[in-house]
């Protein structure tokens, strides 16, 4: 069996999904282990907040990697994992949000809204979180059917804006050392620019296909 078909066999195996699911739980497991072994440092709330925030960004990046990797590596089966990765991004952002609503805002919704409205870095983070809610809800096969593939795809482009919001949220949060936010910003930028390039090249080939018979006719007429 060639290397390529071996990878494809692996990607289509039902066990791969199970293993990936467990792997995606490792960050949560790590935090739990630390919590039980005094490994969260002097400010456990902040530790969990920062960790879940970073893992949200990472899972958004993983999710955004699926389409380019499918096309560039010619591995269409990668699509099987996209929903799971996206839902894990949502899972970690929910935990991230809970550390804010709970320990930071003492579950005071009124205070939380005021904070969200007043502080750009919270506003943009909260917007990113809100954008992911409909995507998580409509991630099922039933919802894809109900919405229709085209509308569903348009809706799910909201992940681009959620990822951008996440990066801005992180960038505005740090005091002076912006290396880490810039790193995630660069990853998101590359993944979105690839899509833009891909879209242009597809458009061009569509236009070229439309034009080519006419072009040929013009040529012969001359």
């Amino acid at each position: 069996m060639s290397w390529y078909s071996r990878v494809r066999a692996l990607l289509t195996s039902k066990w791969t999904k199970v293993v990936l699911f467990l792997v995606c739980l490792i960050p949560l497991g790590g935090l739990t282990w630390r919590a039980l072994h005094h490994g969260l440092g002097a400010n456990p709330v902040e530790f969990i907040q920062l960790a879940t925030g970073r893992w949200t960004l990472r899972f958004l990046v993983f999710t955004l990697c699926i389409t380019p990797f499918r096309k560039l590596l010619n591995l269409p089966d990668l699509i099987r994992f996209r929903r799971m990765l996206g839902l894990f991004a949502f899972f970690y952002v929910c935990l991230h949000f809970l550390t804010y609503l709970g320990p930071d805002q003492s579950f005071d919704l009124g205070g939380m809204w005021k904070d969200v409205a007043k502080r750009p870095f919270i506003t943009v983070g909260f917007l990113g979180f809100l954008l992911l809610v409909p995507l998580a809800i409509t991630s099922t096969a039933g919802w894809i059917r109900r919405l229709g593939g085209r509308r569903w795809r348009i809706l799910h482009r909201a992940i681009y804006f959620a990822a951008i919001a996440g990066v801005i949220h992180f960038y505005w949060k740090v005091k002076s050392d912006v290396r880490s936010p810039l790193f995630y910003g660069a990853l998101v930028a590359i993944l979105l620019l690839w899509r833009l390039g891909d879209w242009f090249s597809r458009r061009r080939s569509v236009i070229a296909a439309k034009l080519s018979p006419e072009g040929a006719r013009v040529d012969t007429a001359r």
Partner: protein, 320 residues
């Protein structure tokens, strides 16, 4: 960008010669002069711990202070493993990790500017300058977390009196030690070094303003600003400059590091003030390390009785 004049450099800015020579000798002896900085540091740590890590000195017979709070103190472990010292890295756990080999021997503090008696103090001279007290202060970081620390030192005014400031001395400028070779992580901090801070003369003379040489009964650990630092408990933590090498009395308000980095976010005064928010986050509440939920932040960090009068008539929203 800030362009510093060369004359700002003093002898205290220079790496102690012994450190420099030891390092060279050591590297040559090991024959790894070309090794990476990382590997070099690891070997250095293993081979010569006694030379670089000064054992903590225990202080005894410390006077109690009426300024001390009776609140529960944070653990030594919290205070030494969760703090900011950007010269050693920007993560809260970086200072403890990266300051292990920080050499603080032969330390001097230079006092200059508008004073009748400018001079250099050795650490021994400073320790004998006034009786050491234990002061248990609340410490409120601008990032909205706080700790309670039993610092050791004496009122900064004791030192001020010794050098006899002239009437021109309206402000005091402070400068931290900075050596890129000992603090390689500093280049990623995003702020300019050496770290500089300042106080108005009356703030410097306030008895709460502490010239600090220790905590928890012993000398300061490297990551908390060894061997000598300032502690100004009614101001955000970044005002309490660490690893102090230069004190300059002057007529002009001195530049301060965080103000230079983000003037709209960090002012010269930076008094703890729950009703003046940081542009990006609220200052109304803080998380005391060890607690889950946030508590209300007190005006002047609870030191209003001692300091509020210094700011009467001042618009603290404008002079943040």
């Amino acid at each position: 960008m800030l362009i510093r004049k060369a004359t700002d450099l003093t002898h205290a800015d220079i790496t102690p010669k012994s450190v420099y020579l030891d390092r060279r000798k050591f590297l040559r002896a090991m024959g790894i002069a070309g090794a990476t900085a990382m590997a070099g540091r690891c070997f250095f740590e293993l081979a010569t711990p006694a030379q670089t890590i000064l054992a903590a000195t225990k202080f005894s017979g410390l006077a109690k202070s009426p300024f001390s709070t009776t609140e529960k103190q944070n653990s030594y472990d919290d205070v030494t493993h969760y703090n900011n010292f950007y010269e050693f890295g920007t993560d809260k756990s970086d200072p403890a990790k990266n300051s292990k080999n920080f050499n603080t021997s032969n330390w001097t503090v230079s006092v200059e500017g508008e004073v009748a008696k400018p001079r250099k103090f050795t650490m021994d001279e400073i320790l004998k300058l006034a009786p050491l007290e234990e002061r248990i202060y609340r410490h409120r970081c601008v990032e909205a977390w706080s700790i309670v620390v039993p610092w050791i030192g004496f009122s900064f005014s004791n030192l001020v009196k010794m050098v006899e400031p002239t009437p021109k001395a309206q402000f005091v400028a402070f400068q931290s030690y900075y050596d890129p070779r000992q603090m390689p992580q500093g280049r990623w901090a995003g702020i300019e070094f050496p770290y500089v801070e300042g106080l108005r003369m009356d703030e410097a003379m306030n008895p709460l303003t502490l010239l600090c040489v220790g905590m928890y009964g012993e000398s300061l650990p490297n990551q908390d600003g060894a061997p000598i630092r300032m502690v100004i408990p009614w101001k955000y933590g970044f005002k309490s400059i660490k690893s102090l090498v230069k004190i300059k009395f002057q007529q002009k308000m001195p530049p301060t590091t965080w103000n230079l980095a983000a003037p709209n976010e960090y002012g010269f005064y930076s008094n703890v003030n729950p009703i003046v928010d940081h542009p990006r986050w609220s200052q109304a509440k803080e998380r005391r390390l060890g607690e889950i939920f946030k508590r209300s932040t007190l005006m002047f960090n609870g030191y209003g009785d001692q300091v509020a009068s210094m700011y009467s008539g001042m618009d603290l929203k404008k002079n943040y």
